[in-house]
Symmetry: C2
Subunit: 278 residues, 2 copies
C-alpha cells in the first residue's frame, strides 16, 4: 500500500521509521518544514517527500500534526485525497476529533478512523523519533462508523509496526479510560509531592514513594493542555478518586476497622481479578 504521513514530529517520524523498517509499504512524508522532510528522506524514514498533489496515490493518510490543524488541513486539501482512502490521526484525546473528522471526510468521499498509538515522549520533534517507539504498546482504534474492512486494515498495520495489541472502542470510553490510566496518575503524583513532608523524604522512603511520585517531574505546559482538553472525563475520574479516598479517610478517622478492612479487601479483589497479584 501507499502510506502518506502528514507531520513528521516524534509520532509521525516514528511511524515513518517503523513503516520503512518493518513493512514493505511505500511511505510518503509531508512536512511544513522542508528541512525535516529532507532529513527523513536522508534517514530512509520515508521513500519520498510528497506534495499535496501526491495525496491522490495514498491508500492511508496518517494525520500527525497538532490536533487543531487536522480538521483544517483535510477541509482545505480533501479534494486532493484519493476517493475511498482511509484517513486516520494519532491524537491522545478522541471525543473532539471523532466528532468533527468523520463528516469532513465523508464530504470528500474519504473514510475516517480515529487512532491513538499509545506511546510517546516528552520531546516532540522528528529528532526524537524512533522505529522502536511502539514496541509492545497498545494501538487504540475508534471506528467512527468506518467499514469493518478498513478497521481490519488499520489493525493489521498496527501489528506490522510492532504494536503489542490493538483495542477497539468509542471516543467517549477512550477518553474516560485515558483519564483513569494516564491523567489521574499525573494529577496524583503532582498533588502528592506538594505535601510539606516531601522535601524531607530521604531516609524514610522506598519503592512506594518512588512509584507514586515518579511522574511529578512534569512538563506543566504540555500537561495543562492535555488535562484541559479532556476536562469532563478527567473531572469525573477525579471525583471518583476523591470520593474513594474520603471513604478510606473517614473509616480511619472513625477508627472503624471493619469498614476499613472491607474497603481494602474490595481493592485487593479487583487487583486479583485482573491477575495482578504480588
Amino acid at each position: 500500500m501507499n502510506i502518506a504521513i502528514v507531520g513528521l514530529g516524534v509520532i509521525g517520524g516514528s511511524l515513518a521509521k517503523a513503516f520503512t523498517k518493518y513493512t514493505d509499504h511505500f511511505v510518503m512524508g509531508i512536512n511544513r518544514t522542508e528541512e525535516t522532510a529532507v532529513q527523513a528522506l536522508k534517514d530512509g524514514a520515508i521513500h519520498k517527500i510528497a506534495s499535496k498533489e501526491d495525496l491522490k496515490d495514498a491508500d492511508i493518510v496518517f494525520m500527525c500534526t497538532y490536533p487543531h490543524h487536522i480538521a483544517r488541513y483535510v477541509e482545505e486539501n480533501g479534494e486532493y485525497f484519493k476517493k475511498g482512502c482511509i484517513v486516520t490521526d494519532v491524537c491522545g484525546i478522541k471525543t473532539e476529533i471523532c466528532n468533527i473528522l468523520p463528516d469532513i471526510c465523508r464530504r470528500f468521499g474519504l473514510e475516517f478512523i480515529g487512532s491513538h498509538p499509545m506511546a510517546g515522549k516528552e520531546q516532540f520533534t522528528y529528532t526524537a523519533s524512533e522505529a522502536e517507539l511502539f514496541k509492545g504498546a497498545s494501538y487504540i482504534i475508534v471506528p467512527c462508523g468506518a467499514s469493518e474492512t478498513s478497521v481490519e486494515t488499520i489493525k493489521n498495520i498496527a501489528m506490522q509496526l510492532g504494536f503489542g495489541m490493538t483495542c477497539v472502542t468509542t471516543a467517549e470510553e477512550h477518553d474516560r479510560m485515558i483519564a483513569f490510566t494516564s491523567q489521574i496518575p499525573h494529577v496524583l503524583a503532582c498533588s502528592y509531592v506538594l505535601s510539606p513532608c516531601c522535601p524531607k523524604h530521604v531516609g524514610f522512603s522506598a519503592g512506594s514513594y518512588r512509584d507514586v511520585s515518579r511522574v511529578a517531574n512534569i512538563n506543566e505546559t504540555l500537561w495543562t493542555d492535555l488535562f484541559l482538553s479532556n476536562r469532563k472525563p478527567l473531572i469525573t475520574e477525579l471525583n471518583v478518586l476523591i470520593d474513594n479516598l474520603t471513604l478510606m479517610r473517614n473509616a480511619i478517622d472513625e477508627n472503624d476497622p471493619d469498614k476499613l478492612r472491607e474497603l481494602l479487601k474490595a481493592s485487593r479483589l479487583i487487583k486479583e481479578g485482573l491477575g495482578e497479584g504480588v
Copy 2:
C-alpha cells in the same frame, strides 16, 4: 558485643542472620516457640538459645516481638537485663512505643532507643527471614533521650548489618513521614483501583497505571492495623493530599490554565529540588 534478639520472626530472624553473617558479635536468640529457636540455631542464625537468665550477658537487646508485647516483656523481665544495656525495638510506628518504653527501661537502669529498620515482607515468620533483607535500606533511630554514645553504637551496628543509611529523628516526625512515604501510597493505590474504569484498563494502560496501582494487592488485615495504629499522622497527610487534589480538580473544572500550570510547576520544582529528574 553480646546481642540478644527476643522474637525470631521475619525481622528478628533476619537481624540474627545478618549479625552472624556480617559481624563478629555473639548472638543469643529468645523465642516463645522453642522449635523456631532450635531451627535458628541449626541454621547458624544464632549462636545460642537463651533463657531470660542469659539476658544479663547482653549488651544490646533487640525486642522483635509484637509491639504490644514489648512493654509487658520488659516490665516482667527487666530485672534480668544487664544494668546499662541498650534496649531497642523494630516497630514501624514509633510514637506509642517511644512514649512508654523509656520510662520502663529507666526504672531498671536500662537505656531505650527506638529503632525502625525500614525493610519488611508480608510474611512474618522466621522461615521468611534472610540476612540480605536490609541491604541498602534505611535504619531510623529515635534516641528517646539515650546518650550520644549509645546512639552511635546503634548507628554503627546498622551499617555493619548492611543498611545503606541511618537517620535520626523524633517519634512524631517519624510517624508523619511514614504516613507520607508508605501509608499514603497504599491508601491511594486502593482508592484508585476502586474506579469503575479499573477492571477495563487493559489496552489503555502503561507504566503510570502500573506504578500507582501496584500496592493495591494488599493484605487488608495487616494494613488495617497499620493504618489505625498511626491514625492521627495519617489523617493529617490524607487531608493534605485531598486538599491538593481538590485544588487541581478545581483549576481543571474552572478551565483555568494559569492556575493549573502554577500548581504543576510547583510539583516539578519540588521533584527537581530533590534531584529526582526524569
